[in-house]
């Protein structure tokens, strides 16, 4: 059964549609900017933060922005956009939500909203009720692989015959909760993050929402299907990436196996690339074990920062458009390779015939994900 990745949208500091986001990426614009914050000795940090008033303006077309939190507005707008362009029967369309921390800052200081609104169940209910989805939303909260895992879960359920269409919506904020935590991990970069570079010194955080329609309905024209997917735990450490890249390597092998493809058939690799010393090194080890060192690879974190539960969905959407447009997007902020194994980092915008791509992600808790996207033409 062919599972297609159809209508999509990214809402981020780079724009309010996928095309705006792609345009910014092609122009080499980053969403990462210096934001003042008294937690930091140097007065602030680099992050990709969405302008709240710009968001409210965009949101006012579909609802009253004062009644919804920033994250709700982002995720509602994303969902609306996918629904606008598709005639879906909401009595049988699944809603799959991905977020790591949702509206977590409401737990502490909720001026305009009740503390209950902080929960992921509440976030899902708001989205479900706004549009009138009849099926109970499925909420995935699996650290930094959530957004991609949610797409894989949609595929698995469609293949099992549970439903034919699923809208996957992902979102996370640059909350004080998360910022303070990553700061305690000494994991935040002093500059915009530099994935896979020698002088990388940690992540930049980002916020964004994204949505995609995952469907088994046939569609004319160029299609991108999710061909194979696998997730494997490292069983090694809850926060430190495995030095052997075990879980990521196994995920890639499993996803290739399901797709009946070999590593040599992968044209493009969209990495997780958070720009921490250990994550990027782990990925390089895993990619080399999987014989992928020659494959053009990039990280989109230099454009967006790490958008946590949204990141793997955003990057899946961008991978999809790479395939459709036959374009390789540069790994922003890359300087000199700083991992122990060779990698073929995309350094400038490039037109190239692409058929098959691999998207990977890894996260706290030792989780890893690999997904194979493949282009086909339905005339």
């Amino acid at each position: 059964m062919n599972i297609l990745l159809q209508e999509d949208i990214i809402i981020s500091p780079l724009g309010f549609s996928t095309s705006e986001n792609l345009k910014a990426i092609k122009a080499g614009n980053s969403g990462l900017q210096f934001h003042e914050n008294s937690r930091f000795p140097n007065g602030g940090f680099y992050a990709g933060i969405l302008d709240a008033s710009l968001l409210a303006d965009n949101f006012s077309v579909i609802g009253d922005s004062t009644k919804f939190t920033k994250l709700e507005q982002m995720m509602l707008l994303a969902t609306q956009s996918v629904l606008n362009n598709n005639e879906l029967d909401l009595s049988e369309t699944a809603l799959i939500i991905s977020s790591t921390k949702g509206n977590i800052d409401l737990l502490g200081n909720s001026k305009n909203f009740s503390k209950d609104r902080a929960s992921l169940n509440s976030l899902a209910r708001v989205i479900q009720e706004f549009f009138g989805f009849k099926l109970k939303p499925i909420i995935v909260s699996n650290a930094c692989i959530s957004g991609g895992l949610a797409v894989a879960i949609a595929k698995r359920f469609i293949q099992a015959g549970k439903f034919n269409n699923a809208i996957v919506v992902a979102g996370d904020l640059v909350s004080d909760f998360v910022t303070s935590g990553f700061q305690s991990f000494q994991a935040l970069s002093a500059t915009p993050c530099k994935p896979f570079s020698k002088n990388r010194d940690g992540i930049s955080l980002g916020e964004a929402a994204a949505a995609i329609l995952v469907s088994n309905n046939k569609r004319e024209g160029t299609n991108i299907s999710l061909f194979g997917d696998a997730s494997t735990n490292d069983a090694n450490h809850i926060s430190a990436p495995s030095r052997t890249g075990e879980g990521l390597y196994k995920s890639i092998q499993q996803a290739l196996k399901e797709s009946k493809l070999s590593a040599s058939e992968i044209d493009y690799l969209s990495a997780h690339g958070t720009a921490t010393i250990f994550n990027d090194e782990m990925e390089a080890v895993a990619f080399n074990r999987a014989a992928l060192f020659h494959v053009p690879v990039n990280s989109f974190k230099g454009f967006y920062g790490h958008t946590l539960g949204a990141s793997a969905l955003i990057e899946t959407i961008l991978t999809k458009h790479s395939l459709i447009n036959n374009e390789l997007y540069p790994s922003l902020n890359f300087e000199e390779l700083g991992v122990s194994k060779p990698l073929n980092i995309v350094q400038k915008f490039e037109k190239k015939e692409l058929k098959t791509a691999l998207k990977t992600a890894s996260g706290f808790g030792g989780c890893n994900l690999a997904m194979i996207l493949k282009k086909s033409f339905n005339g």
């Binding site: 992921l120 997730s231 809850i238 989780c367």
Partner: protein, 203 residues
């Protein structure tokens, strides 16, 4: 399309009200007056866990380790055992703890637990399970989702067995059901049977 008929609930455990049940038998019953942290500490000793890392974990992970240890003791399972867990409150209690520390010095050892799927990592580490993991958030115990998703994993060959269940913790109130699902056993892995195990409470 009931393809689950070849899978069975091989073993199950329940943790609730200062008691731990294996299948439906009480294997540990502690004084209901003790507080939650004492319950976690005493259970560790009584069940002879001998796993010092336990003391470093947040309460949700401690529940997961207690539960999985009792569940998997003496069971035959492979590294390819998937974990499919769910709850309503995500990592609520440790979220509150982290939030309270944000005014002064934040502890990395607290922050690292502020994701619900960390318990999947802890169980995977203890039992060397290199397999599929997912953590679902649901407003209440949802046997449909657990059975449906576990089935897709088993039927697609992504895993040989599954540990699925509910591991809820909010304001020290806990409610845990874990099941080992595999080809062995007598109780068919159905929504009704899973629901029944969840509803079961010792009289």
């Amino acid at each position: 399309m009931d393809r689950a008929k070849n899978h069975f609930i091989t073993n199950s455990i329940r943790i609730k009200n200062e008691e731990i049940f294996l299948k439906k038998d009480t294997i540990l019953s502690l004084d209901s007056k003790i507080d939650f942290s004492q319950f976690l500490k005493d259970s560790y000793k009584k069940l002879a866990l001998n796993y010092p890392k336990y003391h470093k974990m947040d309460s949700l992970c401690k529940l997961g380790i207690l539960g999985s240890t009792v569940l998997l003791r003496g069971q035959d399972f492979k590294a390819n055992t998937a974990l499919v867990l769910s709850n309503a409150s995500s990592s609520h209690d440790v979220d509150i703890k982290h939030m309270q520390s944000m005014e002064s010095i934040v502890s990395p050892a607290v922050f690292v637990y502020t994701l619900p799927n960390i318990v999947l990592g802890e169980i995977s580490i203890k039992y060397k399970l290199q397999s599929e993991n997912v953590f679902f958030i649901e407003d209440k115990f949802n046997a449909d989702l657990l059975v449906d998703y576990s089935e897709t994993i088993l039927n697609s060959g992504k895993a040989l067995s599954v540990v699925c269940g509910w591991i809820e913790l909010k304001n020290d109130q806990y409610d845990v059901l874990l099941c080992l699902v595999s080809n062995n056993g007598e109780i068919p892995f159905t929504k009704e049977n899973l629901e029944e195990l969840y509803r079961f409470e010792n009289e």
